[in-house]
Symmetry: C2
């Protein structure tokens, strides 16, 4: 494991350069967050002796003992000096959260180059500049500039997020919290003057606490290296990537946003990603949805899906999306075995459909759904189950959530849920997520999740076959 980056995820000591006694300042808010962490905190500010009850140091060099991580919250001009001091002190990682560097024009680019030179060939690594920093729920490490009463933080878990856009990272945090998804870490790449996506894939790929890596990139630092690393990591854990700047106009926008050039054709990128086992997503919502599906650890062993719903209309919409290539995901509808048909006929209303989609109608009960799932998870012609979970039918109760979780645990194939429960939809989704069942508030999102599990399965299958051939 790359011990250098370990200081970003498991620091024993954190200095905040630019800590402020003024509650209106960012340097105060971040200090307030850092105090909650499982590490020593050293506020640095030459004009204060103590802030929030913590002893304050005039400079990072004055801090006693080692500093694993220094967060710099100073104007761009002075922050360059702070970076130099951190190098002298032997700080392991400097997170430069300030903007006003390369993204702001030639003057900023020159400052960024100074900061980069300071750390190059030193033992110190630089995150950013222009990064939101890092959030590690398990460590209580949080340098986000949005207070927690305006942005709920997710709990600890296995999904690591690496983002070249602060807004996409913040959006991930918000949606992960809403869905109850556990997070290993969220890292903002910022301008990538030093630490880049390849450093992080390498670290997180080896990190036992990370079960899934989700990335948002507008440019690759070194695309070939990315593909090589991703391919190696993807054998063990799933990777999701939103690579924006897919179009000529989008690439130009990304260039202007990040100050870097995204030169490769998207068709090339698409092919390389598929080869290397990276599951591609396309926007801020798709990124979280796909990560949630893959973080469940599941994958499809084939492309045959069984759809089960009590709302006939939802079953038809799901079937269209599953089986259409043009506007859908191009998977197949499973042909249920005769035995499955016989078993189903015994438990569902006589007038219900025992073909696929299985239509339970408004006469659905918890028990009926339990029996049907119990049958479907044994069907040898089914590789995955799409379940529309509706709490509106009169004889369905909240118990159905637990039934779904239990059947999912027993199942040899993944169950993905689209949940319709009015105001309780969010609560149902959180409960299912906690139970290891990926669940979404729309049919399309659930179908997309199945597609992600199918892509993951196809990659693992290719790798297995390849290994089989190598003596």
């Amino acid at each position: 494991m790359d011990e250098e980056l370990g200081a970003l995820f498991n620091p024993r000591s954190v200095a905040l350069i630019g800590a402020s006694a003024n509650p209106g300042k960012l340097g105060h808010m971040i200090l307030r967050s850092l105090r909650q962490g499982k590490f020593k905190v050293y506020p640095v500010n030459p004009r204060e002796t103590s802030i929030l009850g913590l002893q304050c140091y005039p400079s990072v060099s004055a801090v006693p003992g080692t500093v694993d991580l220094a967060v710099v919250s100073l104007p761009s001009e002075t922050s360059v000096t702070a970076v130099r001091e951190c190098v002298e002190k032997g700080v392991r990682i400097v997170a430069l959260t300030t903007s006003g560097f390369r993204e702001s024009g030639p003057g900023g680019a020159a400052l960024e180059e100074q900061a980069r030179r300071s750390v190059s060939s030193s033992g110190t690594r630089l995150l950013g500049p222009n990064t939101m920093g890092v959030l590690v729920p398990g460590m209580g490490l949080d340098t986000l500039s949005i207070p927690s009463d305006r942005l709920e933080r997710p709990g600890p878990g296995g999904v690591a997020v690496v983002s070249q856009s602060g807004a996409v990272a913040v959006s991930f945090v918000e949606k992960a919290s809403a869905a109850g998804l556990g997070i290993r870490a969220v890292v903002g790449l910022g301008n990538k003057a030093d630490i880049d996506e390849n450093d992080l894939i390498k670290y997180l790929g080896a990190d036992a606490g990370t079960t899934c890596i989700a990335m948002y990139l507008e440019s690759f630092s070194d695309g070939q290296e990315f593909v090589r690393l991703a391919r190696s990591v993807a054998q063990d854990k799933p990777l999701v990537l939103v690579k924006s700047g897919r179009t000529a106009r989008g690439a130009a926008a990304a260039e202007s946003h990040t100050g870097t050039i995204s030169s490769s054709s998207d068709r090339l990128v698409e092919g390389a990603l598929r080869q290397s086992g990276v599951v591609r997503a396309y926007d801020e919502q798709d990124m979280v949805d796909t990560a949630r599906a893959l973080a469940s650890g599941a994958h499809l062993r084939g492309d045959r899906i069984c759809v089960v719903a009590s709302a006939g209309g939802f079953g038809v919409i799901a079937t269209d999306y599953i089986s259409s290539r043009e506007r859908g995901v191009g998977l197949r509808m499973a042909a249920l075995s005769e035995r499955t048909g016989t078993e189903l006929r015994a438990v569902i209303p006589s007038f219900s459909s025992v073909s696929n989609p299985v239509d339970l109608t408004l006469a659905v009960t918890d028990r009926m759904y339990d029996d049907v799932l119990g049958t479907l998870i044994k069907d040898s012609g089914t590789d995955g189950i799409f379940m529309s979970l509706e709490l509106q039918p009169p004889n369905v109760t909240k118990e159905l959530v637990d039934i779904t979780i239990r059947r999912s645990r027993e199942s040899r194939v993944p169950i993905v849920v689209s949940a319709f429960a009015g105001d309780r939809t969010r609560e149902v989704i959180r409960a299912l997520e906690q139970g290891g069942v990926p669940a979404y508030p729309t049919i399309w999102q659930a179908v997309r999740a199945l597609q992600a599990l199918a892509e993951r399965g196809a990659f693992l299958d290719r790798m297995k076959k390849r290994r089989g051939k190598t003596p």
Copy 2:
């Protein structure tokens, strides 16, 4: 206007056949709802003299005076007799909310045929069977089987919904409420034994209270007639249609769900719909999103979009979706005029991008957004504006919502918003919706809305050119 169907939307008297004194029964719950309505209510039940303080009648024929609408909530066998009595009484519309008809097999189909024959060549029309009935917020008319504490009802407005699936209708009600979208009516078609989508398009097309018609269909009663009617109505008001059963497997599922055959090829359907000015949507969420966009009354006069965002990453994602044909909507990014560029340069940070997307960065303020919108709505090269409204940046306040609404009112081109405001997102979307600005919680939904406005604009343009040619 078709006066027959008027009784469904503006009844002066409603009978509930199968009213129940038992609070656990559907016939009780619906009566409770109907009591809130702006019409006379007659409970019908031979075993009761009064329910919920209303005098009860032994049969519909015993009701004094005329009955505009009779809602039948009885088992399928007895409900057929009730339909016959309604015909004798001269009831104008019977809504048969019971299931157990054609969708349940040959026995049910025979019952349905009996009910259909009863009303044929009579002055009575039949809605259903197997329909959720009707919801008309402006009249307080509500026959939905889900109590309002489990499903919030939307307020009155211009969007009329016609659905062949109860679940899709319920989902529309839920999402319309959440977004603050006003509803003219929601009608469940059920098995379409008599009243079908063509009857309703004809009525709603002429109905002054209806500004937009949103439909979910699994089969067409008469596809050619549908296209003819739609084309005529679409000159005046927008139509949205989810036609499911697009794929072979989906069509088979629809057939089994509704008991009707959906024979036409989807490619044929797609072409005919486009010709007739129907904007197609593809699922339960897309249906509401598209209806909300079109109900604003706006359309695009061209395909040149300007993107403005404070989060650079969101601007890039939106740009990709706008300009990609393969995975996006294939519109164009506007080339801003020189004058627009000069004006923008004066109001946004020196390091921000004045190309398109316009990147306001985290330095964004309410005032800056106001000035930028003021400039963009005058740009002659722009046909529509995609705005990412983020409330997280430190110098943005809730005031930005009102600014957006004001600028949208002044604007010659539509503004569509994707809103990022954490827990306040729903509230922001509702406020914008009330202010006539279509707003969505994701980038993709907002881009799709622009696509719908572009389709609508292209249709109106074709019609105008055609009229120009006719002497």
